[in-house]
Amino acid sequence: MVFYQCSKCKKKWQHPVSICPFCFSELEVIRAKEAKVIASSKVSIPSLLHPKVPYYALVIEDEHGNRYAYKSMENRKVGDSLNLETDGSYDAVAIWKVNYNLLDAIEKIADLSCLQLKKDTKVLVLPTLVAPVHNYMRENTSLEFLDAVLSYLEEKGVKNIKIATQSFDDMPIEAMAQKSGLLDVCLKHKMVPFDLSAGEFESIGKAKLSKELKNNDIILNLAELKYGKASSVENLLKLFEKQNYQALKYLHGEECLGEIIKEINNVFTLGEAMHPQRIDKFPIFRSLVFGSRNASSLDAVFNATGMVKNIPKQLASINISNIPTVGRTISEVQRNVDLVL
């Protein structure tokens, strides 16, 4: 958990306020290395936000004396350390809560997933860009999420960053990037998104995939997660050549495309679920972020956190209990998203 402290008068905040209102000094970020349980209550009454009981509501205290609330499905004892495991395996899915600070959440997902980025790593950022609509509609990668991802890459010193996607309908990506505001975020980071369709593709079996796959060390798949969908997999399909995508989809269905995508091994999906759309397209407050090398695993886990039953076949066939999760557990963040916005 991150806290903020006034560099002058030492007042502390858990909320990322901009400046101290007493002395107008800048705030310092206080990060903790250790955290221990100082109190625990077993909760036996269900609520819409927390339908699964019992759970344990903990009060955690870090080495700086900062205290905060933490939900656990595990009965942790007073004095126990709050240690989080990491898992860099292909199927593992990291789940983390965004406490206003997206950059911090992305860093946490990277740590939990053992994601290594070096200064010379070539990164292709693949945002979700599917409609020329405002940010709050949650169709596309949000402005704040893209901004945080690019800031994270810059913080890591990554020099070679490209942003690209492709439109599978008649709407040019430039128009969508402009209307959604994503273009402004790219420009803020001195980048210009490009259209993958203008580049080269190469055949790999039945598929024709963008050469950017091979030109980059890692594809950062920024999936704008939506309930009832395989959003992460869908966004990766933008790496197909358009006609090839349409032909394969027509002949073999989207599941076949998903199978091809599985063969790509240099993808890391960052799934944004700040306010994901429900099946009825209404955005819902979740404040979560997910990370995985396996886009299908991530989609399956994400849908499980919303207790969504109507999901694509390829996700329904996945046994959730076989997917290792790190950070928060599915049960900790699970609720029926159909019940309340």
Binding site: L48, L49, Y55, A69, F285
Partner: protein
């Protein structure tokens, strides 16, 4: 300022609209004050229930203008469970108005308990607390754990508080538990909702309305003290997890205002959203020394026949807790106690009374002191 009239509906689970509860309470207060709506110069209204039960009604001030057929200024303010007290405090500060009606109404309990629990949870911090499962019983359970660890009080002490308030409510025709006393063993054996707090340590979410008419013109009840303080929404980020600083500050202000001490209080209505909150508040209000709250309930001094009865109405625990209405319902009880017309639950000494109303987990607190003239 003086209190001219008070009104309150019975607290229950009836399915009347919020405005109907408000209307009934207002009419009773007007009749009690021997006034009509034309005598009211302004209204301060409080409620949280605009989204519950399909009553999607946010511009309530205009709604109230319509049903009361008045065009006076109407202010709406929200301070969750502390709304009634905060509205009353606001009305006290309004200069240039002779008669101000303070009004509250909630149709809150009208769906499955998960919905009510979720609705109440919305008063906690959204990102750091709500999503971490910090329900209100849970926040208070954790505060109580810290208190027990530090001062050595027990769950049996809380059982005594619940028992006392249920006995009192059994004598109050407007309480939900009227004529329904509860045995001590049933309280002790009630199921745990958030350890260590049990079901019978929690107040009862009900529907209802209450109204108070404040006036600059002298009446039989004078408001002699008023205090209001707030505290951080992140309960565990406060310096002291075992007490409510806002109560201590509001009480200090109200007592200084009134020029009296806690020993001068004859009867009090304390915000017992949870039995643990009542016990901790004995200390925060100055009725017991720090760490000695349990001794006060064990002594019997605050029972109906004791030296300074507390929550003779049955409190939030057993009269019921219709969120924003509670603060005004407490004033309703104290006014009637000071007048001496409470029948079976009338306290012996009744010159000075106190009300204590909390919003959230100690996040906003008002304390008011009243004197019979």
């Amino acid at each position: 300022m003086y209190i001219k009239g008070v009104g309150m509906t019975k607290f229950d689970y009836s399915t009347r609209s919020w405005w109907d509860f408000a209307y009934s309470a207002a009419i009773e207060a007007l009749q009690d004050a021997k006034m009509s709506m034309s005598d009211i110069d302004a209204i301060v209204f409080t409620s949280i229930s605009s989204a519950a039960g399909g009553e999607h009604q946010t511009h309530k001030v205009s709604f109230l203008s319509d049903i009361f057929k008045t065009n006076v200024p109407i202010i709406e303010l929200v301070s969750v469970c502390g709304g009634g007290g905060a509205a009353f405090w606001t009305a006290l500060k309004m200069q240039g108005f002779k008669n101000v009606m303070v009004l509250a109404a909630e149709k809150f309990a009208d769906n499955r308990s998960e919905v009510a629990t979720d609705w109440i949870l919305s008063a906690a911090e959204r990102v750091y607390e709500q999503t971490e499962g910090m329900l209100f019983p849970t926040q208070n359970a954790l505060v109580w754990q810290a208190y027990m660890k530090k001062y050595g009080a027990t769950m049996d002490d809380l059982s005594l508080i619940a028992h006392k308030n249920h006995q009192n409510a059994a004598l109050n025709p407007k309480a939900y538990f009227y004529k329904k006393p509860l045995e001590l063993e049933k309280i002790k054996n009630s199921p745990e909702v958030s350890s260590p707090l049990r079901l019978m340590d929690c107040s009862l979410s009900v529907n209802g309305g209450a109204a108070v008419i404040l006036s600059s013109e002298k009446s039989d009840i004078e408001v002699i003290g008023s205090g209001f303080a707030t505290d951080y929404i992140l309960t565990f980020g406060r310096d002291d997890m075992t007490h409510f600083k806002a109560t201590q500050m509001a009480a200090k202000e109200a007592f200084e205002n009134a020029g009296i001490t806690p020993k001068d209080i004859d009867v009090a209505e304390i915000h017992d959203a949870f039995t643990s909150v009542e016990l901790i508040s004995y200390e925060d209000l100055g009725f017991a020394e720090e760490g000695k709250g349990a001794e006060l309930i064990r002594s019997g001094k605050i029972n109906l026949d004791g030296e300074m009865p507390i929550n003779v109405s049955g409190g939030l625990k057993a009269k019921g807790h219709p969120i924003s209405v509670t603060g005004l319902a407490q004033i309703y009880e104290i006014v009637h106690q000071l007048r001496g017309d409470c029948g079976d639950r009338q306290v012996k000494k009744h010159n000075i009374g106190l009300t204590h109303n909390i919003g959230g987990a100690g996040g906003s607190v008002t304390v008011h002191i009243f004197k019979k003239i």
